[in-house]
Amino acid sequence: MSVAKPAWNVGDELESRTLPPVTRLQLIKYAGASGDYNPIHTVDEAAEEAGLDGVIAHGMLTAATMGLPFSPYLEHGYVRGLEVRFSGMVYVGDEVTIGGRVSEREESGEGCVYTFEVYANNGENTVASGTVDFLVFEDSCS
């Protein structure tokens, strides 16, 4: 298990990462795992009827991937807050890049809270953006 200890400073950029192209199978898996069976995410005809160029990824799947950069640090803290605005569609085949930067650090009774401005981009547009608050427990707080 990764034991990376967070050592962030305000202004630091998170290393951006580009995820593998979105596949229909991934959307089917997410539909099953989340219980969101809205067919615009899995069935071409339904997506076309809704005026889309094809099936689109669930917004909440994109929101979930925006938490990926924080996963290696779970031994030292957790995502206490997440705020995501959806601003574009993610289609099958899109390669989504996620990234962000540290915008704030605040002491709290439980440790220190880092606020990140985060984004997801499909190469053409920002498809989602927002903030993540990551609480680092007191004993891991530097």
């Binding site: 298990m1 995820l19 991934q26 898996k29 997410y30 099953g32 795992a33 989340s34 219980g35 809205n38 917004g59 909440m60 799947l61 929101a63 979930a64 991937t65 938490g67 990926l68 996963s71 779970l74 031994e75 957790y78 995502v79 206490r80 807050g81 997440l82 705020e83 995501v84 605005r85 959806f86 608050d133 427990f137």
Partner: protein, 150 residues
């Protein structure tokens, strides 16, 4: 009748269990099979002492239906999602969950007024301790609004 009439309406609470298999399947589907989500031994040895769930997992729970509306905001365009935790969520926990419509307003769009339905979803322990609060914005096109308002 405008959807404003649902403001302040709340669902009956529904009991949900944070299921181990569901968390594992979810973690895999989002491409984040962190041992603390999926590996019981690793989780037991961690500071949490038990498996925890990914940040967006609570959106998969059932929150009940607002009478006359259904699960608020479901089936429309997802505009915004927010969640705030009071503490991590543990696998095996039982939660009492409900949803409430907290606001509705309209803004002029290209093809007529768009509706914005804001709903809050809350997860509490069975003892009434709040664990998380979600706030979602659903966007309704004129066609979606008409089908609800008729």
């Amino acid at each position: 009748m405008s959807l404003e009439r649902f403001i302040g309406h709340r669902s009956e609470p529904v009991t949900n269990v944070v299921e181990k298999g569901a968390v594992k399947k979810f973690a895999e589907a989002i491409g984040d099979p962190n041992p603390l989500y999926v590996d019981e031994e690793a989780a037991k040895a961690s500071r949490y002492g038990a498996l925890i769930s990914p940040p967006t997992f609570p959106r998969t729970f059932e929150y009940g239906e607002v009478e006359g509306l259904g699960p608020p905001g479901q089936g429309y365009i997802h505009g915004e999602h927010r969640i705030r935790y009071e503490r991590p969520l543990f696998v095996g926990e039982e939660l009492s969950c409900y949803a409430e419509v907290t606001d509705y307003y309209e803004k002029e769009g290209r093809e007529g007024p768009l509706g914005f339905l804001i709903s809050e979803r809350v997860g509490e322990s069975l003892e009434g301790e709040r664990i998380f609060t979600m706030l979602d914005t659903a966007v309704l096109t004129p066609a979606m609004r008409e089908s609800l308002e008729s």
